[in-house]
Symmetry: C2
Subunit: 175 residues, 2 copies
């Protein structure tokens, strides 16, 4: 064979090896979170509000918790456990003081959502995720899923809230 042929075969083999390695590490789709095989729901920014929160300390963020229709229905009907298909999204942003608001109020009191940090999801599928309380966990940053290692830490932290089907956030009553 001529050198050029070796080169073509070499590139083809390498491409095949890389493709295999990539598909072994997940679905091969960069928008699918590892382990739990969760796709970024395209419309989550349109979901309804469950509640809001502030985590101080290292996280130092402001958060909104939204739910798809199945999750919102379950919350409002106080249905536990959550039905299969329910998805809860936790969006977070940096916790930043608003100079603009403080100037108007004449006091340093206003904190607003700064740059987005990440969005986490809990997806209910009692069969698929039977070993983790029926919930799959995912985290995305700008539509890119987070590494698998970090997702292994999700469920253990939710175990103490087993009595509320592993869900920390309570539904915020309508003012």
């Amino acid at each position: 064979m001529r050198p050029i042929t070796f080169l073509v075969i070499g590139v083809a083999v390498l491409t095949g090896v890389l493709a295999l390695a990539f598909s072994a590490s997940g679905s091969g789709d960069e928008h699918v979170a590892p382990i739990f095989d969760i796709k970024l729901p395209p419309d989550f920014r349109d979901w309804k509000l469950i509640s809001v929160a502030h985590e101080a300390g290292k996280l130092n963020d402001l958060r909104a918790v939204l739910g798809n229709d199945a999750a919102i229905r379950a919350y409002r009907d106080r249905q536990l456990p959550f039905p299969d298909g329910a998805i809860i999204a936790r969006l977070a942003w940096q916790y930043v003081p608003s100079e603009e608001n403080n100037k108007v109020f004449g006091r340093d009191q206003s904190f607003v959502a700064g740059a987005p940090t990440n969005v986490q999801f809990m997806v209910k599928d009692s069969k698929k995720y039977a070993s983790t309380g029926g919930w799959g966990f995912a985290q995305f940053k700008g539509s890119k899923p987070d590494a698998a290692a970090q997702l292994n830490t999700c469920f253990p932290c939710h175990v103490p809230i087993k009595g509320r089907d592993y869900v920390f956030t309570r539904y915020a009553p309508t003012p």
Copy 2:
């Protein structure tokens, strides 16, 4: 005329006077906010998320800002001024530490939505509310509108934000 007739006429006149007095102070509907004549939108808890915030100090609350479809569209399209029909809702809850979350995290860092305080609305109608930048203001507590006096203080506070059509809250980018 017999005394009973006087009584009937008297009651009728009194009822008329009361009705007039009541309608002069508003629409006569207890779910309509005074001055700006704004009804509590029945579905505002289902609106989409604009952003979240924390006001410290005397207010000491956590807040979610939601928008009806016209408001959300304007925010996403960066359309200023907001079109007539846009409504922005600011829901607030007491800012309370979550003992439950802190126990799991092993740190005092978690603050969540406690009892609801009130919900405020900005309703865009450039003709009806021409004298206040095209916005009507309302505040409700458990579906009851707040007193007129307090609503007079809304617009002056929003004047410094005229450049963003008098709206403080910026759209929180999707994480």
